[in-house]
């Protein structure tokens, strides 16, 4: 087996036994990158020299592909936006420091929807990423580069970020495991902000065990991110030993399973996953999350509102693109932003500014925050009855480029992943099967309560085991 096909666990075992070194792993990935990246476009840039230097300095470390919104000192960090072309990070994000302290090194920068706004990576301002399982289709998004790199064996594993489904939906499209940690579990210091009450960084891997190993390295309190409580990080991988479906109370929510517009193959694969869990000993419990139907609307108020504030920092003053046409400070702002941002980012900034503007704040943002409380309470009530929820991850398998020209129909891709993001709980996407005619991967989603990643990973692992 070529080294680039390895996952984290197998790579760590080979490194420990001295079968190969970190530099061997990086060289294998670089060779694969030269062979396949032209077609797949998972990576935006790959500093081969830098990655090899780090590998020689850390001969037992496993290389990880990094979504291009996470700062690594001395590397570009463009967020796939023209406004950050040429930007070089001045420092390491906390997650990068954590990786380095736990036997990993960053290697390569992977593509994404510009500023993580999108569900197909078509909104990247800097490159096209194709689904490794069908090059005529999108890899999902916004962490489409991460998913394509892992699913296409151009990386051992990758970091993604999830605001409304940006780890889980591309993981489903590219046959990877993706974990969106609970809000506050992983530090965002040094991660370019999109919607600060939602953003989380998480692992995208080739197995649940790999996700457990990587999440353990990423998670924990960081005094540089005030949203990370000082809650101990369990040894997630060790907790997977003996993971079983026996006795697991698995919630089935009609708001997720009885939805019109769900692809029939996604429905079939989800139903089969549920039957497999039941056959492996899970107790199926019907639950209801009645405010689910409002989650999309709440998200498309809150996320653009927070984005409009966060992206105000891109003003052409301290870093990023500055317009050559500016004549005064006002036109410096308006022209630099006009030239630097792509259409979806502009749309969301305007949407966010509108819902926060005078006279509309209470009706939109204020009200959305209250409905968000009701969505959160739905999850609290459900988790009194069940250990985990099982749902589809995305309503369809990977779609063709250009399939969703209307922004609102693109947004509906995140139907199943948005409510749990709003509630701040943790969720995974685990490969479940392939569509019959098109042979496209489909993932199933598991959702657990806040800071219950250990339980989430155990259920995900038990499903992975019974699906084989």
């Amino acid at each position: 087996m070529p080294l680039y096909e390895l996952g984290i666990k197998a790579a760590q075992e080979g490194l420990a036994k001295g079968e190969f070194t970190s530099a061997d792993l990086v060289e294998s990935i670089i060779a694969r990158y030269h062979e396949r990246n032209g077609e797949i476009g998972a990576y935006l840039t790959f500093d081969e020299e830098g990655a090899l230097r780090l590998a020689h300095e850390n001969p037992k470390a496993v290389p990880i592909a990094i979504k291009d919104l996470i700062n690594v000192a001395g590397q570009p960090c463009t967020c796939a936006s023209k406004i950050l072309k040429g930007y070089v990070s001045p420092y390491d994000a906390t997650v990068i420091r954590n990786l380095k302290a736990n036997g990993f090194i960053p290697a390569g920068r992977v593509n994404m929807d510009e500023f993580a706004m999108g569900s197909s990576t078509e909104n990247s301002g800097l490159g096209v990423t194709r689904n490794p399982y069908d090059l005529t289709r999108v890899p999902g998004g916004s962490s489409g580069g991460s998913a394509a790199a892992v699913g296409g064996n151009l990386a051992i594993a990758a970091l993604g970020s999830d605001t409304g489904g940006s780890i889980r939906q591309p993981a489903s499209f590219c046959n990877c495991v993706g974990v969106k940690p609970s809000y506050g579990r992983v530090s965002r210091y040094g991660v370019t902000a999109f919607a600060s009450s939602l953003d989380q960084v998480g692992p995208m891997t080739k197995s649940v065990e790999d996700a457990a190993i990587l999440l353990k390295a990423l998670a924990g309190h960081d005094e540089m991110d005030g949203t990370t409580p000082d809650v101990p990080v369990p040894d997630y991988a060790a907790a997977l030993a003996g993971a079983t479906m026996k006795g697991v109370r698995l919630g089935l929510a009609k708001e997720y399973l009885e939805v019109t517009g769900m692809d029939p193959e996604v429905k079939r694969i989800t139903d089969e996953a549920i039957r497999a869990c039941e056959a492996a000993g899970a107790e199926l419990v019907e639950v209801s999350l009645p405010h689910t139907e409002y989650a999309m609307a709440v998200y498309y108020i809150i996320a653009p509102a927070e984005a409009s504030a966060n992206l105000a920092r891109f003003d052409g003053v301290r870093y990023g693109h500055r317009s050559a046409q500016a004549t005064d400070v006002f036109s410096l702002y308006t022209k630099s932003r006009a030239e630097g941002f792509g259409p979806e980012v502009k749309r969301r900034i305007i949407m966010g500014t509108y819902v926060l503007s005078s006279g509309y704040y209470d009706a939109y943002y204020g009200r959305a925050q209250r409905v968000r409380t009701l969505i959160k309470r739905d999850f609290d009530a459900a988790f009194e009855k069940v250990d985990a929820l099982v749902t589809p991850c995305a309503p369809t398998p990977a779609f063709a480029f250009g399939a969703h020209q209307d922004p609102l129909t693109m947004y509906l891709n995140d139907l199943y992943t948005i409510p749990s993001a709003l509630a701040g709980v943790c969720a995974s996407s685990v490969p479940a099967g392939f569509t019959r005619d098109t042979h496209l991967p489909v993932g199933v989603q598991f959702i657990c309560g806040g800071f219950e990643e250990e339980k989430l990973l155990k259920v995900s692992k038990a499903y992975e085991d019974c699906n084989h």
């Binding site: 949203t227 498309y300 949407m351 925050q369 209250r370 009701l374």
Partner: protein, 96 residues
């Protein structure tokens, strides 16, 4: 719902072409039309959820520590003079 896209874009410090305005106008109105479904939810007495997790007073020790060196902080500056970012004149009538 009619949105004054030109006005909101100005608030957001974004210059839009006429073509962009024409494209965004119906798109934004359709998105706003969609999100208005929350107006039917009874939120009487419901507290707003401001964050993904409730956390109060996350302070760190108020001590002086090393910050980015000036050269590093200025390394991405579009234009600079000495140790400062160079910008067009801001105050009307002042000498630059």
């Amino acid at each position: 719902m009619k949105i004054d896209v030109a006005y909101v874009a100005e608030l957001a410090r974004l210059e839009l072409t006429d073509e962009e305005k024409a494209v965004f106008q119906p798109q934004l109105e359709s998105i706003v039309g969609y999100v208005e479904k929350i107006s039917t939810v009874d939120v009487e007495g419901v507290e707003p959820m401001m964050h993904g997790r409730e956390i109060v007073n996350a302070f760190r020790e108020d001590i002086v520590r090393e910050s980015l060196p000036v050269e590093t902080a200025l390394a991405n500056a579009p234009q600079r003079v000495g140790d400062e970012f160079l910008l067009p004149k801001i105050v009307e009538g002042a000498d630059s």
